[in-house]
């Protein structure tokens, strides 16, 4: 059995997006409850959330943006940059806590205290650009974690796998010129789904050309298509890149019962996805894997999806 960390904090529920918003605190409660009732908590090492050190946030976001986010939030405005991004006064603090908890999970993995970790955090991060909040995301948790691993722990090559149903435009743009971070994303085709990027021909630029890989999937597709694309696009890419740590942008919104998008991946399909990412981590990265929550809005399905996810990480 692996030593798996679990990050969950009641304070992640404080980010209040108002009525009717899909990115709501009930998502995290469903995830926690799923893991708890599957009897997995005793096998997990709890990770304590704490606000991130600003030095790490600033490796990705400009100081100007961070100040703006803080000021807009504390002044009581309900949105940042776009109607999608609903906020309350606690949003900024919660976002810092999400980054901080993710970095603590990364630290514990690198210090050898854990093999891997699942960070059940809010708000999510993969749409957040350097200077812009987008698609319910404010700080790019995964991007900050990748830089932290490189700068604090001297990791040369970070591999990111993003299976949220939406393309992680923020993560892609942040690393598109960077050959030390490989960004792989599988998502609903951008002609149909938010945010409209992540086409096959987006492959990075400059020195980073070839270190971005996108697998857009047409609406209505299912487990077999994900499996085919993983095998065809991700496995050979990581075989060549040889990541030293794998960070996963974990989104459960490609599930067939999730109304945010049009995919038909089953609960078993998600299990296959996670098992194959675990295999990659064991093959190339000494098992070091950091899974960070992005989307997933089917409240009835999140408990089983989260429990399976963690069970696979425990290798039990």
């Amino acid at each position: 059995m692996k030593r798996t960390g679990f990050l969950y904090d009641q304070r992640y529920l404080l980010h209040d997006t108002g009525p009717y918003h899909p990115e709501r605190s009930e998502r995290l409660q469903a995830i926690y409850q799923g893991i708890e009732s599957a009897g997995l908590l005793p096998h997990l090492t709890r990770i304590t959330a704490r606000p991130a050190d600003m030095q790490w946030v600033e490796t990705i976001h400009t100081e100007k943006y961070i100040r703006r986010f803080e000021e807009v939030c504390l002044s009581g405005h309900r949105t940042l940059d776009c109607e999608d991004n609903q906020m309350c006064r606690e949003t900024y603090e919660t976002a810092l806590l999400a980054v901080g908890g993710t970095l603590e999970a990364a630290r514990m993995i690198m210090a050898g205290e854990l093999d891997n970790a699942f960070c059940a955090i809010r708000p999510p991060g993969h749409h957040a650009e350097r200077e812009e909040a987008m698609g319910f995301c404010y700080f790019n948790n995964v991007a900050i974690a990748a830089r932290y691993l490189q700068m604090q722990w001297n990791i040369q090559r970070v591999g990111i796998v993003d299976f949220d149903v939406h393309h992680g435009n923020g993560t892609q743009h942040i690393f598109e010129k960077d050959p030390t971070v490989f960004y792989y994303s599988i998502h609903e085709h951008p002609s149909f789904a938010y945010p409209g990027t992540g086409r096959e021909f987006e492959m990075g630029s400059g020195e980073g050309y070839g270190f971005t890989k996108n697998s857009p999937v047409l609406p209505g597709q299912s487990d077999e298509d994900y499996r085919r694309l993983f095998e065809q696009d991700l496995l050979p890419a990581f075989e060549k890149f040889v990541p030293e740590v794998i960070i996963v942008s974990t989104g459960f919104d490609a599930h067939k019962e999730d109304d945010m998008a049009d995919m038909r991946v089953t609960t078993e399909g998600f299990a296959w996805i996670m098992r194959s990412i675990m295999k990659l981590a064991d093959t190339y990265a000494q098992g070091r894997l950091l899974s960070v929550l992005e989307g997933g809005y089917a409240l009835d399905r999140l408990p089983e999806l989260a429990a399976d996810h963690v069970r696979i990480m425990l290798d039990a």
Binding site: Y20, H166, P195, D259, M260
Partner: protein
């Protein structure tokens, strides 16, 4: 939606007397395929395309890096001989739809844009039109495409747009297309948001069917013939 807003205004032009090789160099340098030919008063007198040039020169001079001596043999060829006189043109006041239809009808890759006096004002190419329609479709901005099945009767689009407006969602574009069932239309609003769950539910509550866009697309394809009995 006018040609004047989408055309390229800084046009590379040549004269009738310009040598064909010089015209070819200009096309290569600027990665373009059409050169309007103008006189001293900037009046359009013709257009020369990369196809005209390919037809005039031997294959070696088109595809390979030619020896200068070889090229010298063709230095006397002038644009005048190979250009199209009085080419089809379009005016700056024409619409983008005009340009699209004209390009399809005339099978040309670009049109010189001229004013009433025949003076060259710009050029509009397939590439310019693509850019303009990417803008029209709104797909340069982040958003989500919905596919809504609506009955073909008055007021359906308004009901859809009302829900979108009430949800405070901006619309990048709306396309309306035929559906294989008679009396039905597929409506595709491109919504500039990630937050589509509630708007989808409200549309369903109003009796609209939300389709998988691929389902709509597949239904457009010709059905295979039924197997012989």
């Amino acid at each position: 939606m006018f040609v004047s807003r989408s055309m390229t205004e800084k046009v590379i032009t040549v004269r009738k007397e310009t040598s064909l090789l010089e015209a070819q160099d200009l096309m290569n340098k600027h990665q373009i395929r059409h050169l309007p030919v103008v006189d001293d008063d900037n009046i359009l007198v013709g257009i020369i395309t990369d196809r005209d040039i390919r037809g005039a020169l031997p294959y070696r001079l088109v595809k390979e890096q030619p020896e200068s001596e070889e090229r010298a043999k063709y230095a006397h060829l002038k644009v005048e001989t190979y250009m199209t006189d009085k080419p089809a043109t379009i005016s700056p006041e024409h619409t983008l739809q005009d340009a699209l239809l004209l390009i399809q009808e005339k099978r040309m890759g670009a049109f010189p844009v001229v004013d009433r006096d025949g003076r060259l004002k710009g050029i509009i190419s397939v590439r310019d039109l693509l850019r303009a329609f990417i803008n029209v479709l709104g797909i340069g901005e982040p958003g989500t495409l919905l596919c809504i099945l609506a009955e073909e009767k008055v007021g359906q689009l308004k009901r859809i747009v009302d829900v979108i407006t009430e949800e405070k969602i901006s619309c990048g574009s709306v396309l309306v297309a035929r559906y294989f069932e008679k009396d039905k239309r597929a409506v595709f609003p491109y919504l500039l948001t990630n937050n589509v769950m509630r708007v989808k539910q409200r549309l369903r509550d109003l009796g609209f069917e939300i389709l998988d866009p691929m389902q709509w697309y597949l239904d457009q394809l010709p059905k295979p013939a039924p197997p012989e009995a």
